[in-house]
Amino acid sequence: MVSLSVTPFGPQHPSLLEPIHLKLKVEEEKVVGVDIVIGYNHRGLERAMELDFKRNIYLSERVCGICSFQHSTAYCQAIEQMAGLEIPTRAKLIRTIMIELQRMTSHLLTLGHIAEVMGYENLFMQTWRERESVMALIDRIAGNRVHYSMNTIGGIRKDVGYDTTKDIEITLMQLLPKLEEIRGVFAKDSTFRKRTVGVGVLSRSAAVKYGAVGPTARASDVPYDVRLSSYAGYGVEGIRFRPVHRDDGDSYSRSMVRVEELFQSVDLIQQSIGLLRDEPVNVPFRGNPSGEAFSRVEAPRGELFYYVKAKGEVRLDRVKIRTPTFVNVQCLAEMIPNCQLADVPVITTSIDPCICCTDR
């Protein structure tokens, strides 16, 4: 006779970087159901953002440390849209470069984290070593590793000079063979495959039903990518890319989508650098915004959505942030049932949960 018991997973757990609570309904070793509890990390940032629209350029970066530039881009785009500003192509391309560099650091972090929670510390260290070179590159470009403070309403605050673009190109050229090595390990290594292939499957219909976004959706054969909507530099003439997608929907596919997106990011950065022309990087913005606008960006975890309503004052009426993890974390209810208890950390990590964003 098998009895049902409830095992708590989180909010504090060695395999979790951030607080999320999963109530696992367990029959012996098999998980039959899950309740997801979020909200342990709430900081009231949406409310704080209503105070001063200019301060938000820097405050929005602090919603999340690992997609900080995505957040400030989304916010600045919303205000630019309200004010009817068309930002210069050079600013758009620099935004693209920084977005893609940040995507690389985020994906390398997640891949390392997945390897770590399955006990594959060697792979974790390899991945994070390569991540460090991207972080150091960002430090040289923006002056800080995490909070770039490069965005402003109307473009980019700090231009990227010729030396810096050369630096980016050289660093990426040195990084590519190492990324190839990492791709080989993630694709072929038997330890990694045994823990991920067929684990935590999210079918295409379930992904559509839950509205999954980002790599989680793309691994379930939903080729949905906000970058196709041509924001920032993705709509500039000459930038070509096709979303990576896979059909299996398991943890392995989600990891491989991220590995492939590393190469896509390198490609997009190289394309953007080739298109940089000599022109100013920002247009002046004066006065206070009024009206309402929304903007979307493809954060490393999926679609990030900002809605801003202004009333022609320094104070804003409302800022609403809808983060990718908010949707993806609900997909866990579909992935976790019928898996082994030991696979729960791997499945949870494979959607790359960012609770910091989600709870705001």
Partner: protein
């Protein structure tokens, strides 16, 4: 199998990490570390203070000072961009670690990029008196104009500055009463002026203030002196004391304070004390900053000295 090869390779190769404290970190040139002021260029327009997204910059126009709260500064560089005279620079270096939130004060009297630290470790903070006692990093330049010519101190008619004790123990308004008591007991004083970072006197805390606050209740102050009975009164009294000890001094200090300037004659100060039943009067310098304090004991000493001279 490729990971096995990598593992063996890593076993014999050098570590990928930096041996940090032993090997210094090299920050890139454009690193946003911390901001420094060149006060010779500053025109006190207030743009940096206005545009700072975290309100980390405080301008003190009358005293020609700019203060940067290090814990608030996010090194975004908005002040550097907004400064019309390029008085602010971003340096690729971090502020040294501190045990309390620091405020760096840039004074027009200092050479460019020099600053004084206005907040000190919790127990050092009470020792701050005049700016000359602040541990300056780097120190105030030695050629700071010093008013030589000691004032004439004849009898009881001299100005306040020749009698006052210039080493004043002070508190900040968010210090707890517990700390006030510790400072009072350790230094054998009964009254401590409460100042802000510009050494402006906000109030004064005395033993009486503390006793009055802790002795609230039907028995009044005297209840603090009752012997312990081991009954409920004991518990109540301990609870009241605990609450008082945890309060910030701003809640119990006497404010506003009657002060005197350095040039006020001693006889006037004595009259002031007699009239208002004070025990001590803080002395301010010409800029309104705390420079000393005169207690009843100081006046006694002056009288004793003048009798000796006769």
């Amino acid at each position: 199998m490729s990971m096995m090869r990598t593992a063996l390779k890593n076993l014999v190769s050098k570590p990928a990490t930096r041996k940090y404290p032993a090997e210094p970190v090299v920050l890139p040139e454009g690193e946003r570390g911390r901001i420094v002021y060149d006060m010779s260029k500053c025109i006190f327009c207030g743009l940096c203070e206005k545009r700072c997204p975290t309100n980390a910059i405080m301008m003190d126009k009358p005293n020609k000072r700019q203060s940067v709260s290090r814990a608030k500064c996010i090194a975004c560089g908005v002040c550097v961009e907004s400064c019309p005279t390029d008085a602010i620079q971003m340096r690729p270096e971090y502020s040294p670690p501190a045990t309390a939130p620091e405020v760096h004060v840039y004074d027009a009297k200092l050479t460019p990029h020099q600053f004084t630290v206005a907040s000190l470790p919790p127990f050092e903070r009470a020792k701050v008196a005049g700016p000359e006692l602040m541990p300056a990093v780097p120190a105030f330049p030695s050629e700071e104009p010093k008013k030589e010519k000691p004032p004439v101190c004849e009898g009881l008619d001299g100005p306040a500055r020749c009698v006052m004790s210039s080493r004043v123990l002070t508190l900040f308004e968010d210090d707890t009463v517990r700390k006030a008591v510790q400072v009072m007991v350790a230094n054998h004083v009964d009254g401590l002026p409460v100042v802000d970072i510009n050494l402006k006197v906000l109030g004064i805390v005395t033993g009486t203030d503390i006793a009055r606050d802790a002795g609230r209740g039907k028995e009044g102050i005297l209840s603090l002196l009752f012997p312990r009975t081991g009954k409920k009164e004991d518990k109540d009294r301990d609870e009241r004391l605990r609450v008082t000890m945890g309060k910030p001094v701003r809640e119990i200090m006497s404010s506003p304070v009657i002060t005197a300037s350095e040039d006020t004659p001693l006889s006037e100060i004595a009259a002031l004390m007699d009239k208002n039943r004070f025990n001590r009067v803080p002395i301010l310098d010409s800029a309104g900053r705390l420079s000393g304090i005169i207690a009843r004991g100081d006046i006694m000493r002056a009288i004793a000295r003048s009798i000796e001279q006769q």
